[in-house]
């Protein structure tokens, strides 16, 4: 059934032409940017994750510049857990220190493990948007379901990163991986 609907939707999209596809892509980035920002409200970081009491909430984006741009608009004037939100676009090899959330885009899918290696001991919420990401250390992975953006959650990496993901967030997750 799902596949049928998918085919129909794809057919519709194809019929609508490149403009429609482009529009869908933009909407998807907007939604993902919004989600990325909102995750901050459902996750607890350990006390030492913030250098100062008024330290900003840092979201790093790598391999998804469009999303980073979108995210900067989303967080403008907003807060997460009472902190101002700051977005950093990262290049390959840049330090991850000071980040609280890291989004790894589709472009960097193959290098995920390499990126995460430098942040082993850091309480960092890792969000991805490609298959098999959860098995490589990602904690939240966007998936498309029925043309809607959903996400799966993997708890073991989060526990390793001393992060506590709220059960309320889990309630809206498509799939929760609780043990490896």
């Amino acid at each position: 059934m799902d596949s049928l609907i998918r085919i129909l939707v794809l057919a519709a999209l194809l019929a609508a032409g490149p403009v429609a596809a482009q529009t869908d892509r933009a909407a998807e980035i907007q939604i993902k940017a919004a989600f990325l920002y909102k995750f901050g409200g459902f996750v607890e970081w350990p006390a030492g994750a913030f250098a100062r009491p008024d330290a900003a909430f840092m979201i790093g984006v790598i391999g998804a510049d469009a999303l980073a741009a979108e995210l900067e608009q989303v967080v403008a004037g907003r807060t997460v857990q009472g902190r101002a939100v700051s977005v950093r676009k990262l290049r390959r090899g840049e330090s991850l220190s000071g980040l609280h959330v890291l989004f790894v885009g589709q472009q960097e899918a193959s290098r995920l493990a390499e990126i995460l290696a430098s942040a082993k001991s850091q309480p960092l919420l890792v969000v991805t948007e490609f298959d098999n990401a959860l098995s490589q250390g990602s904690m939240i992975n966007f998936v498309a379901v029925d043309d809607k953006v959903r996400f799966d959650v993997a708890l073991p990496p989060a526990e390793r990163g001393q992060l506590r993901i709220s059960a309320r967030l889990l309630a809206v997750a498509r799939k929760v991986v609780s043990s490896s």
């Binding site: 939604i31 989600f35 909102k38 409200g41 459902f42 907003r78 807060t79 997460v80 857990q81 809607k148 953006v149 959903r150 996400f151 709220s166 309320r168 967030l169 309630a171 809206v172």
Partner: protein
């Protein structure tokens, strides 16, 4: 018994009404309290529910997961009183909904936060806020059973009230005997006392309350009434005894009176008898005295005439004295006989012309002494109902006296008249003669009483006694008024007074 029913019914009504009133107030208070509590707690409950839903569905809204939101709403299945629920997103669009029983229409736009009553439903809106951001709105619509509860309470109240009234009725039926029994006892005694008039009965005191005091007061009253009744009976017995005693005394008085009257009658008849005897004696003596007196007078006259030459001058003077004394004695006897006759003769009343009678008497006097000039005034048309012979004798004495005692006056004057006072007629004879001292008035009408010496005025002293007797025989009275040297007036009536008392001012007397 009316009294019993009346008091019982009143007490019963009192108890039932009190019970009902208390019940109604209590139930009303309870219902009001409960309904208010229900209202508040139900609103609080729904608010909490909405808050919970808001918290629960916040992630679903945040991550645009209508399915999860729907699943969250589905949990309301365990709250059957919640009829419908919905989640609106931040733009006001319907995001997820739940309807307890099929078809449901949801508001197109969410309302502001808060609870409101809409018909039979309680509607609650609640903002979904996560991390200071409004994510959407929760909508809840639940049964609001205030009126149902109210109806239910009214039903319960009716049943409770009925039951309470029944219990109160049963209880008061038993308990009011405590009140009514002593009352009925008193009422019974009161009735018995009234019917049998037995004041020795007493009401039994069955309680120590006001009714007990009533019984005591009632008994005290009965005792008082009983005592008063006895006293009354005793006093009426005493009164009856006094009445009979008084009657006996009255009878005694009557008897004594009768005895007295009898005695008076006896004495009177004795007196009359004695009087009659005395008068008869007087008459016969007087009569018998005349014969020897005539002999003395006759022989004295013969001696003077036949032997005048043989009798010396001095002897003739003695004989003259004998004759003078004899004649005076004859006159005295004549008067005594007259007095006696007045008493003995019968009374023959008829109408008499007193004026005429007085004039005749005066004319005879004038004839006897032609030389005297007396101014005589006799009123005209004086009439009396009297015995003419006796009345003439009375006038002869009265007018004769006046004639006699005016002899030394230069202008003698005699008046005969009458005074009328109502039906009573008083006759009078008055003169301007010698008069008399009123101090002697009491002796005036006695026989042989003289107020002047024989040398001064001749007379026997029997005349006024005769007049008085004549007047008395007519049933009248006689009295006099006089001043020495100024004259005398004699008044008399010829009829009984009829109670009027005018004591005669009597006086003096001129000898007859």
């Amino acid at each position: 018994m009316i009294l019993q029913r009346s008091v019982s019914q009143k007490l019963l009504a009192l108890v039932l009404l009190s019970t009902l009133a208390a019940l109604l107030v209590a139930i009303a208070a309870m219902v009001a309290y409960d309904l208010r509590l229900y209202h508040q707690s139900w609103i609080a409950d729904l608010n909490t529910q909405a808050e919970l839903l808001a918290r629960t569905t916040a992630p679903a809204l945040a991550f645009d997961d209508a399915r999860v939101a729907k699943e969250n709403l589905e949990l309301l299945r365990y709250r059957p009183k919640v009829r419908a629920a919905a989640i609106y997103n931040a733009r006001g669009g319907l995001f997820a909904s739940y309807a307890g029983d099929g078809q449901e229409t949801f508001p197109k736009l969410p309302g502001i936060d808060g609870a409101s009553i809409q018909g039979d439903d309680l509607v609650v809106f609640k903002r979904v806020i996560n991390d200071r951001e409004i994510l959407g709105t929760v909508y809840l619509r639940a049964e609001y059973e205030l009126y149902d509860r109210l109806l239910g309470y009214l039903g319960i109240a009716a049943v409770v009230a009925l039951a309470a009234m029944l219990v109160a009725y049963a209880l008061s039926l038993r308990m009011q005997r405590v009140v009514t029994r002593p009352l009925l006892a008193i009422a019974g005694v009161a009735r018995e006392v009234t019917e049998k008039r037995n004041f020795a009965l007493r009401a039994e005191k069955l309680s120590e309350d006001e009714i007990g005091k009533l019984a005591e007061a009632f008994n005290t009253m009965l005792a008082e009434i009983g005592r008063a009744t006895q006293e009354l009976e005793a006093s009426s017995r005493e009164a009856a005894r006094e009445v009979s005693e008084r009657r006996r005394a009255e009878q005694e008085v009557l008897r004594l009176n009768a005895e007295l009257e009898q005695r008076v009658k006896e004495r009177t008849s004795q007196l009359e008898y004695t009087n009659a005897e005395l008068e008869a004696f007087c008459y016969s003596v007087s009569h018998d005295l005349r014969a020897p007196l005539r002999a003395i007078d006759g022989f004295s006259q013969a001696l003077m005439e036949d032997f005048s030459k043989d009798v010396p001058e001095e002897g003739r003077r003695y004989l003259g004295r004998v004759r003078s004394a004899t004649q005076r004695m004859a006159q005295l006897i004549e008067d005594l006989l007259n007095l006696s006759r007045v008493s003995r003769a019968g009374l023959a009343r008829r109408e008499v012309d007193v004026s005429e009678l007085a004039r005749q008497v005066a004319a005879e006097l004038q004839q006897r002494e032609p030389d005297r000039k007396v101014d005589l005034l006799v009123w005209d048309a004086i009439r009396a109902d009297a015995d003419p012979r006796l009345l003439r004798a009375a006038l002869e004495n009265l007018v004769g006296n006046a004639w006699k005692f005016t002899a030394k006056r230069e202008h003698p004057r005699i008046e005969v008249g009458s005074l009328r006072d109502g039906s009573r007629v008083t006759f009078f004879v008055r003169d301007n003669g010698a008069g008399f001292d009123m101090a002697y008035a009491s002796k005036l009408f006695g026989a042989f009483q003289r107020l002047h010496s024989v040398n001064e005025f001749a007379g026997t002293g029997i005349g006024l006694a005769t007049v008085q007797r004549i007047v008395h025989r007519h049933g009248g009275r006689i009295w006099a008024d006089a001043q020495p040297g100024k004259g005398a007036a004699f008044y008399f009536t010829l009829e009984p007074d009829g109670g009027q008392i005018t004591e005669p001012a009597a006086e003096e007397a001129q000898a007859i």
